[in-house]
Symmetry: C2
């Protein structure tokens, strides 16, 4: 009888929900959200979903009704008692009560704000507007929904065994990557792949495979729900949206120049140890470090998320030396477009010179490249970013002009203010 | 509550039984059993399990207690009502009531006879004695148990995800074989892989993958339980044990020379159409065909199970022509050590010259070659054969001296009686 009941119950689902929890999101989103909730709760922002791989016609692949159902389902989610207990009671980065009671009370009552969805040609325009701490929580689930619906569209016509073999191939591919990594002495690597994952179940499988295959070398997952379910460390620090919004809010060029440091000053107030990680590339790494106050050199490390990662790590090492810091005590976190070979190369290159750690994203949780005809499951570059704050446009430059965002005139102004000259263009894979 | 109950129930299994049904066996065993039950019910036989790959120390790998538990479990099995209904009610080779009421009544009350198990060095000596129709039914389950226990021994120390990836690789490997075969026009292929399968579940998966991947080109499975469960054709005709036992029973050289034809005369009485398949190689194909009565040339086809398959098919084609038969109307079934490349080669070579069909065995249901370190899961050559009948030893020559069996003096006698000269030795893989 149990099977009949299960079957009827399952059949009662109107949809197969892609995101089933408000903490099926990146840990750093919650950290940043708490910071924003404290320092900038009333800022009005707009986030927008952007498909940088325009050759993938999302609106042709994905039914608008299905997309709306998934997004509506996310709006129906509330923080559960168990999730709240985990956030309140767990230790994060060795610290108890990382999330303060006032933030938790707000989060327990949160419903994600409405979304705006419109078809534009063969793409969707998906935007979110409202107060920053609410809107920012749309980013990860919105991306995960779009990625997974695209995958489902591709898989729809495959036979049962063809599908099984596809996943068998995917597992084999991932396991072979893990086998390559397991021999690296002193490797420290985490899952950063929530946003562009193939699916929740696939990410969960990837994380468990990392646990078995890498042991202590696997340091945790950015996905709070999986961290909770699998009793793992939830990891992550902060992202570009903080300097982007702080900068958009700056009234003058001087205030703009100062804004990225203001972000970290606020962060400095809140966090210590391994959470004091500089993300320097929003408006160019070199200029940011040159102009940085001395207290930033005392931070634990740096995250490298664009440009040539080895070159950026060298810049950081030189900077620490200039500021009288010992680089071998510092942490460099690589997190941009990583895959096995690049991880091995960077690990070997910097071993002994600086502590390294890797945040492995899309090519951990969504690498089905080469496994279907026409490579229809290859991951693509989908992002969801703050595009305006209190009505003013945001800008991101990064260390790779192919990742730049914002109105053209504003990009020029930011380049001037932050002293960014010529940059090397690098292909963005994911 | 259902899950708790399921878990407790599962935990109550003393063992994880490898063979769970008396019809988890090859269809031809049941056909032959019915024939033996009719013509030679009182013959006393001994069957013996022989590991031709002595480099695999079965007794070191497999715990004797576990082996006994599995064999005891098989002795506890009885034909179920549903299985009996299927055998009585189903159509086999287009025929209703293939199994006669007297046979079914006997089968419904059958318990397999006792076994004798003894460790000899690093191998087991496993023998079965009693009346032929009972003892013969041990062959397939005994082989399946030994093969699977060896596999379990190898898998015991693997982690959960390592195991998942192993199966993922196995599935991928099998699917790639199927993808190679699917483009062959006019291919007809069946599963003959019960005896040396990796496991029941794996065989079941392989069969279902063949259904999806090959469609009508897949003509059925030799495994009755899977045929029943998946609503497929159960296929198979007859095996060497019939001429081997008939020959052992022969009192004189003349009677011996006649014995293999007596087998087929009895078979002729019982079956027609696609069940009239000659298995000519027990004591050499050439001599068998040269001395065959004319009515045998009228049979539907021939099964080639040893020696060079293409050469044997040519011999058969020539023989049919000599006897005034049209080879293009005849069926050649290849069933010896097949894998994709050989199937493709033979299919292409004989297309248009003769009807062909393939009985794909071990390398369909147990090909994990190259997937573990030291190739510890590679299939090996395990057989279970009639070794004596009414106290007299049996002999098999086949078209490959590496497959010969029996006492040396008897082998020489059989070679003389059947006029077998020099033969080419061919490596036996499985």
């Amino acid at each position: 009888m149990a099977d009949i009941a299960t079957r009827v119950h399952n059949h009662n689902w109107k949809i197969d929900p892609i995101v089933r929890s408000l903490i099926d999101t990146d840990f750093y989103k919650l950290l940043m959200c708490q910071s924003v909730f404290r320092y900038k709760p009333d800022t009005q922002v707009q986030f927008s979903l952007i498909n940088r791989t325009t050759s993938i016609p999302l609106a042709d692949l994905i039914d608008e009704g299905e997309l709306r159902e998934q997004l509506d389902h996310i709006r129906s989610l509330r923080l559960t008692r168990g999730e709240s207990t985990w956030m309140r009671g767990n230790t994060f980065y060795g610290k108890r009560q990382m999330f303060r009671p006032d933030f938790m009370e707000w989060f327990e009552n949160l419903q994600l704000p409405p979304y705006h969805l419109e078809r534009k040609g063969d793409q969707y325009e998906l935007t979110f507007e409202g107060s920053w701490p609410e809107v920012m929580l749309w980013e990860i689930p919105a991306l995960a929904v779009l990625m997974e619906l695209r995958g489902r569209a591709v898989l729809r016509d495959m036979g049962k065994f063809e599908l099984q073999v596809l996943y068998a191939r995917g597992m084999t591919k991932l396991w072979e990557k893990i086998e390559k990594l397991r021999d690296l002495d002193g490797l420290r690597i985490a899952d950063f792949g929530t946003r562009r994952r193939h699916s929740y179940m696939w990410q969960d499988w990837a994380v468990q495979a990392m646990v078995e295959g890498l042991g202590d070398k696997f340091t945790g997952t950015s996905n709070c729900h999986i961290a909770m379910k699998r009793d793992l460390e939830a990891v992550g620090t902060n992202a570009h949206e903080l300097p982007m919004v702080y900068s958009a809010l700056a009234e003058t060029d001087d205030a703009l120049r100062q804004a990225p440091y203001d972000v970290l000053a606020d962060w400095h107030e809140e966090h210590e140890g391994n959470l004091r990680i500089i993300l320097p590339d929003t408006y160019g790494t070199k200029g940011f470090l040159d102009g940085a106050p001395d207290w930033l050199a005392g931070w634990t490390g740096i995250r490298i998320d664009s440009g040539d990662p080895a070159a950026a790590a060298e810049v950081a090492i030189d900077w620490w030396k200039e500021r009288g810091e010992d680089p071998t005590k510092k942490l460099v976190i690589f997190s941009d477009g990583l895959d096995t070979d690049k991880i091995i190369e960077l690990h070997q290159k910097f071993q002994g010179r600086v502590r390294t750690s890797f945040g492995w994203g899309t090519l951990l949780t969504n690498d089905f490249r080469g496994l279907t005809k026409g490579d229809t499951l290859a991951p693509f570059s989908l992002v969801c970013k703050a595009v305006s704050a209190n009505g003013k446009p945001t800008v991101k430059l990064s260390d790779n002009p192919n990742k730049a965002m914002g109105p053209k005139a504003e990009i020029e102004r930011y380049k001037r203010v932050f002293g960014v000259g010529e940059q090397d263009r690098m292909e963005v894979v994911v």
